[in-house]
């Protein structure tokens, strides 16, 4: 199954960030197996999170394995951290690989958070990987992902 991703609808901020959106607008994204994401998606992640290679681990995503309704999929993200003044999680970016707008949300924490965890609900267009990237106060990046099966997509069309 191939799906044409409308990167041209990405919001202005991302555009200014130079995600190469214009060049990618006509790109076709093939549903490749495994954790190999389309180059465009990797670039979107990079432009949002910044340079640096995220290490796997520390980030956990709670999501249903099968989402019957893609319009509202509950999720929780949490990151292992002592959450002290010197060592805390600054932010967590959440992405949905195959959504028309892959960026979902950015949570900004502070040492006052006590624990780096937040919950919300997202739309998912189709079966795909959901990815969370945590930025620590030290600048280190950690990444976690979950695959969600979606029965009915929820991004309109």
């Amino acid at each position: 199954m191939t799906k044409r991703i409308q990167l041209s609808v990405i919001d202005r901020r991302d555009f200014v960030l130079g995600a190469g959106a214009a060049a990618a607008a006509t790109a076709l994204l093939s549903a490749s197996a495994g954790a190999v994401w389309a180059k465009e998606f990797s670039e979107i992640v990079k432009s949002a999170v910044g340079d640096g290679k995220p290490t796997e681990g520390k980030v956990s995503l709670e999501l249903p394995e099968i989402a019957e309704n893609g319009n509202t999929v509950p999720f929780a993200v949490s990151v292992e951290s002592p959450m002290t003044e010197d060592d805390y999680v600054k932010s967590v970016h959440v992405f949905a690989e195959k959504n028309p707008n892959p960026e979902v949300v950015v949570f900004h924490f502070s040492p006052m958070s006590g624990k780096a965890s937040a919950k919300s609900r997202m739309r998912l267009a189709t079966t795909q990987d959901v990815v969370a990237v945590a930025t620590m106060s030290s600048g280190a990046l950690f990444i976690g992902k979950r695959t969600v099966k979606v029965t009915i997509g929820g991004c309109g069309g």
């Binding site: 609808v9 707008n101 949300v105 006052m112 958070s113 006590g114 624990k115 937040a118 991004c155």
Partner: protein, 108 residues
């Protein structure tokens, strides 16, 4: 359109406790990807893009939303109680419209 936001905060807590704060606001969260079926024109994007939580005037949590967040956005997060005080929550949408709510927290 959006109505009064709902926020759930424990009435009281001990200093050092980590409490959960749950928030919900009703908003259509128009993604900008949908088309009007009659005219074929795109319905412009209108979402709540920012949520800020302050405790005694200091920002403790912030969330930047994109169109992939569901309608009627629900956000829950945590706070390590530094003492008694008041929360202030502010939601802002693409049109610049904003909603706010306040909640007191007592310490025992």
């Amino acid at each position: 359109m959006a109505t009064k936001p709902r926020v759930k905060v424990p009435k009281s807590a001990k200093v050092g406790d980590v409490i959960e704060i749950k928030t919900l606001i009703s908003h259509k969260m128009e993604t900008g990807n949908r088309k009007n079926k009659k005219t074929g024109k795109k319905i412009p994007r209108l979402i709540i893009n920012s949520f800020v939580a302050k405790f005694n005037g200091k920002q403790v949590f912030q969330s930047k939303m994109h169109p992939s967040i569901s309608a009627n956005p629900y956000i829950a997060f945590f706070l390590k109680v530094p003492g008694a005080g008041e929360f202030e929550f502010i939601w802002t949408d693409d049109s610049g419209k904003s909603w706010s709510a306040k909640k007191k927290l007592a310490v025992n």
